[in-house]
Point group: C2
Amino acid sequence: MKTQITDFFKNLQKEIWQKLEIADGKGKFVPDQWQREEGGGGISGILQKGNVLEKGGVNFSAVWGKMPQMLASRDNFGDGEFYATGVSIVLHPHNPFVPIIHMNIRYFEMNGGEKCWFGGGIDLTPHYVVSEDAKYFHQQLKNVCDKHHSSYYPEFKRWADDYFFIKHRKETRGVGGIFFDRLVANDEFSLEDRFAFVQSVGNSFADIYTYFMQKNKDIPFEPQNKEWQLLRRGRYVEFNLVYDAGTKFGLETDGRIESILMSLPQYASWQYNFQAQPNSQEEFTLNHLKKGIEWNDK
Amino acid sequence: MKTQITDFFKNLQKEIWQKLEIADGKGKFVPDQWQREEGGGGISGILQKGNVLEKGGVNFSAVWGKMPQMLASRDNFGDGEFYATGVSIVLHPHNPFVPIIHMNIRYFEMNGGEKCWFGGGIDLTPHYVVSEDAKYFHQQLKNVCDKHHSSYYPEFKRWADDYFFIKHRKETRGVGGIFFDRLVANDEFSLEDRFAFVQSVGNSFADIYTYFMQKNKDIPFEPQNKEWQLLRRGRYVEFNLVYDAGTKFGLETDGRIESILMSLPQYASWQYNFQAQPNSQEEFTLNHLKKGIEWNDK
């Protein structure tokens, strides 16, 4: 099954490259193959300076070897040989009215299948929160989840609210999405069921994001919208470097640094004590970077 | 003695504001007083959009209260009441040929003086490493150290090499400087001796940095120098968010976020897999972001 899963991720990467390149109309994903000394490797695909996308990565990897001691104990992975494969995506658009998006789907197994599980998530980070866009996004994710189990969307939506949270800012990273981890086979779900769900998530990605690219790419913007975008990207950097589990895992296990940090934007900014104007779009955004908003009911 | 130390830090902040404002010729430090709910507070002083400095902070704080449980055990501070005071500085200039500088000096005591020590450091992060500037910088620090003990400079210089190191990049943050922590009173040094040293470090700061401001602020630069500066600032962000002990301490103890993250630059950039041109100034810089370079012997 490992091979089947790995092949799915590998093909998905190429499909997403193609669909995003068509929607962008100019940028191309440049494949960059890399090897991991201890076992495995990956293909990073980075697009820079497109029409719609300023910088984005759609990466595939399949790595294996001995579980690093620190993670074996601290993160409760257990000792032995691991195998991990997945697709990771972060896209930073030029236009501040097009949202940032992230998706990661992954499969992990210990000692040739002794333990195995899926994990992943998709979340949307609009520089400007727009209720109808957030609602559309969550509806798409709910549709994907509901095909597999009615408990998935509410559970994974809450999990995303908790995970994509910038604790020191007391802000969510964006309007959330879904997040899930350690989806094992159990009485209710086979590993095939879990894989089918992860395939649905992966296959939904390109349509969801190209919808926002097409709809919002030509919305006119002013220099102050761009400044705000750079500040929001600064928050994105804060989340990824301080909290993101995948980034921390990569940094701590001496992973391929350029692939791990492809999630960081071309440009970002920090300003001391920025205060949004009353009743501005910026203030509306800050007021909606909160956990527990049920966008589907809005 | 606590009062005397606190007063020294408070006055030093004002002196440094004045000297930097004179050297900048336009920017002003805007004081921003804040209170900490659990005890104490501080005065942040942020300068934005000066002539020479794009963004900089010269902050003072004196905070106290019950030691947070996590730090008491994990960082071996012990249980009880703490008192911590210090000055923290990070300055980001406009011109890529003027270096970034950082200084922190601090005093810490537990349970009204049961344990007490000084810590701190100064380090220089040139966007472009220039041997004579690095040599000048280290010579000034050596002069400051040698007035107090001949072991200080070599010991604290090595400590800075180890501390200001971006592990995942296998690069030092810049050309280092000095770093020291837990300087307690012992058979060799009284607490007064330690304080005298910390005063010398603090008093040396403004002259050292204004020297670089004046010398380098009018060096002409091209757009590609600016791009490189933004990439180097990206590394600065990586160090501060991933490794810097003061930043981590602040984030974990729910400190005043705008004061903690004043160290981040106005603008920063990330580019996938940047490769310096052979024999370029950028390549020279990357080749000198290494531990163990004895700048004084160059």
